[in-house]
Symmetry: D2
Subunit: 298 residues, 4 copies
């Protein structure tokens, strides 16, 4: 299955009392699904999946799967759990809810034990039991587990393991992986890496930035696809500061604030995450204004 495209790993709005705000989620879904995206990823890192119960994850998947299907877009479900058994159950549940594919964090608590043998046994067991294709999610900044290429090459041999989201932006490793596994679908994990990943045969991006600037990412790709490389570079680079702000610099609280300013409903984060403070807000405001991304009356 060709999954190539641009996907927002969607943020989930919470109320101040830390409950999921489904009304705001529906509001956001209407907007996202009218943007030039290929689908949604949920629940992922930007959805605060780590802060949701299993029931909440399923509830969110259900809502998003229905909305995505109605709009003719794909849904990629985040289903990685700490145990193999839980991961299998959640992946199967996601498939039943209509997910097109699943994106799987590795188990990561026992980092030193997550060697090649353990990781491949885990992913293969899930893939054997999964009705839908899987993407490996490499995000060592959150998991402390970095996939090396021998492990990925072994995983790629399973027919159900279709690709990777590489949030470490390790372009050199990904170039080698592409050489070793030409049909493996390699997604950038952050907006600033879209063009570099495309340049080595990447399949697109799953990027926080696509929560509120999908059209800008689409323009980067279109310029590149048309061979207008200087224009593509310029379009890519001008997104770099806001991309950093909603990822490495301010994280999910920064993303939620930027969404709010762009006409989405950002909502509150769950504690221990704290809402973006005033200086962070000013920085994000300035970046959005410079790009003309803020909504008129936000």
């Amino acid at each position: 299955m060709d999954l190539s495209g641009i996907y927002p790993p969607i943020a989930i709005p919470f109320t101040q009392e830390e409950a999921i705000d489904f009304e705001s989620l529906h509001f956001n879904l209407q907007r996202w699904l009218s943007e030039p995206i290929d689908g949604l990823v949920v629940p992922g890192s930007n959805s605060e999946a780590a802060y949701m119960s299993l029931e909440e994850r399923l509830a969110v998947m259900r809502v998003c799967a229905q909305a995505a299907r109605a709009a003719g877009k794909r849904l990629i479900a985040g289903t990685g759990m700490e145990t193999t058994a839980d991961t299998i159950r959640l992946t199967q549940a996601a498939a039943e809810l209509g997910a097109d594919a699943a994106l799987l964090l590795p188990p990561y608590f026992y980092k030193p034990a997550m060697n090649r043998a353990v990781l491949t046994a885990h992913y293969r067991a899930v893939a054997d039991a999964s009705p839908i294709p899987l993407l490996v999610y490499n995000v060592p900044q959150f998991t402390g587990v970095a996939f090396d290429n021998p492990t990925l090459v072994e995983l790629a041999q399973h027919e159900k393991i279709a690709g990777i989201k590489d949030s470490s932006s390790n372009i050199v490793q990904m170039a080698s992986l592409k050489a070793l596994c030409p049909s493996f679908q390699i997604f950038a994990g952050t907006g600033s890496a879209l063009l570099p990943f495309l340049s080595i045969g990447g399949a697109g991006c799953i990027a926080a930035l696509a929560n509120f600037a999908a059209a800008a990412l689409r323009e980067v790709w279109q310029a590149y696809a048309a061979g207008r490389n200087a224009e593509a570079a310029a379009l890519q680079v001008r997104l770099a500061q806001i991309n950093a702000a909603v990822t490495s610099t301010y994280g999910v609280p920064g993303l939620k604030y930027a969404m709010q300013r762009c006409g989405y409903r950002g909502g509150w984060p769950r504690r221990p995450l704290l809402p973006l403070d005033a200086s962070g807000q000013a920085a994000v405001d300035a970046l959005l204004d410079a790009l003309g991304l803020a909504a008129p009356n936000s």
Copy 2:
């Protein structure tokens, strides 16, 4: 509350089908509580807490709290969760079940966001709501979050935050912390660090090794307490290889195998963890035999 002492962070036996084996747990509890320990820690890293549901954590706490109380020992409950709200709820539940104190991992998924402001707000919110004293659990090898001393000094000012388990064995940092917060109770997080931690005023250890070699750790402490320092050093150092085997080298599967060999019921780990392989078993056997720790007919 003076919590000083030697504590096993107990391993939980699972059946081959990955269910909690409560019968084996009861068997083990009888043995542990007849050893020279001051209490139990559960569920902790060595309990595969990260691999248990909330209900399972509560069930295990309940069983252990009853057994500990009956034996006149303390129970320190592992109650750190990813969200502040869940951590408060689990800590309060542990207190109701009779836990004497709680040991709290920090939230750790969004590692880059776990700065001093976020961590102190989280721990203070939990401490404000907790009926029992708290210990901070510093285990960057699993969490990727390392507490610095300014953060710890700030936490130590809360009357409910009584100490730390430092599994990073950062003896230099702990010496500074002891100077800054003389009444803070500092526990070694691994058996090999017991004596070095005692040497700078530490309060004991919470160590995997105490699952099957508590008496040997007690001898180290007694020799030191009596000023027989050369003997203490010799007793401490001879435990170093087996301590490494059941922690950094082979992790929980190594610990479970060693327990089995020493007359406990180790049981299976949950996947993705795999049982100790044959070469690991041979290595652990040799170490246990050299120390005379293996049970006669194991």
Copy 3:
């Protein structure tokens, strides 16, 4: 000064007795300077600069400057030393010998002390005293010092500091840097990153691979420049395995062996580096053969 282009950071052949083999160096220079490169970088990491005396560094620079000038190519001299004073002296000497620019490692022994204030004071002092433009060399895998963007932006304000070689291949950071400092010249530090760096406005590469496969790198660039992006990606990716072999996998000994097989004179490394062992040789042979890079009778 526009320094954009492809540069080999040349390897220096040593005799088995560990002396510089100037005859072989001359032989190699003839070949390099007939390749589609824009100049030479020497002495750099691949030259074993860290293993040369000051006198040797100057001798090598002199030979290479003369050869480069005769061929109408640029020479970029590696002049970073541990002290500010030594770095100034070596940079000035390089300029006198005819270097067009200098590439400067940061001081790196006292890693924790190499903060923004210390690094900017160091580089500015050198830039103030330098007759030629400077490139910052970011190679944390060797130095343990990683430049952040606030430091680089500050350095870029000096008229003599023209760009960076980023061997960390941090494409996301470089995209931000390009946005912040549009005229800063950003060079990939490894062959596999050439195209990704070009895609965000990079200036080329200074890459070990260019010691024996400059033409292949040139083809990547030409395809990209002509907007033949799929072809460029394919050409780039097929170089990934050999690029890894002569950098992260086998280092300088791997590079020297590959050069030897491609008709250059690789020579011996200096100890503690050891010549590539048999299994490494077989791996490099296979990669070179697959690409048709090996010389007929090598």
Copy 4:
């Protein structure tokens, strides 16, 4: 040879023009050699060895060897260089100048290449050629190279390799090493680790703090040796803040300032290191005053 004891790795005073200030060095030597130390280590990390030429290193060794011998103290020479050949030459020269032993940093530029085979070949070649015993210097915070125990056990089998200075303060690793190599002499690399290292059979310390507080370290040891363990702990812990200030917090500039305040001649550091700034001076002043370490009229 039993090298156990307390050693300052001496700081070298430079003039404002960055020349070695031999007069001040002589002044300091008179004071050091009247303190309760067992010898001097020079040139080491605290001597800015990385910032000295080979000639300067030899000149400093010569002066210190003569002074140490006259006082009946040992001299341990820092002789680790990037190449094996240079390290052999400098170690032999140190022996000729009268050094009792040598302390050897590993080669560290090509960090990924410094595997067990390369490190053992290097150290063995030096040991084979050395007339004096060697100590391995493990200081990954500066070198980025961390020795593991299999490598150290292999090195310990050479009759000329007598021990290690472990500035990583990895007490757990050192406990294992002591078990594996009972006669290996293990030195703490920082003052705060003296007592923890002694508690597992360590041989003393080579610590920046001994440049101006050797008597306080000696008191720690004496209390421990007499079995007055609570007193030893208290004496050790009260040194923790000033120890951190002159090592991890402020580095060599902090050490030089503290020496100056304690009646030694600290002198200037070489650039890129900058003299301790005013806020750092105030912090060090407060710590020295609290301990009564500052000289009356400093």
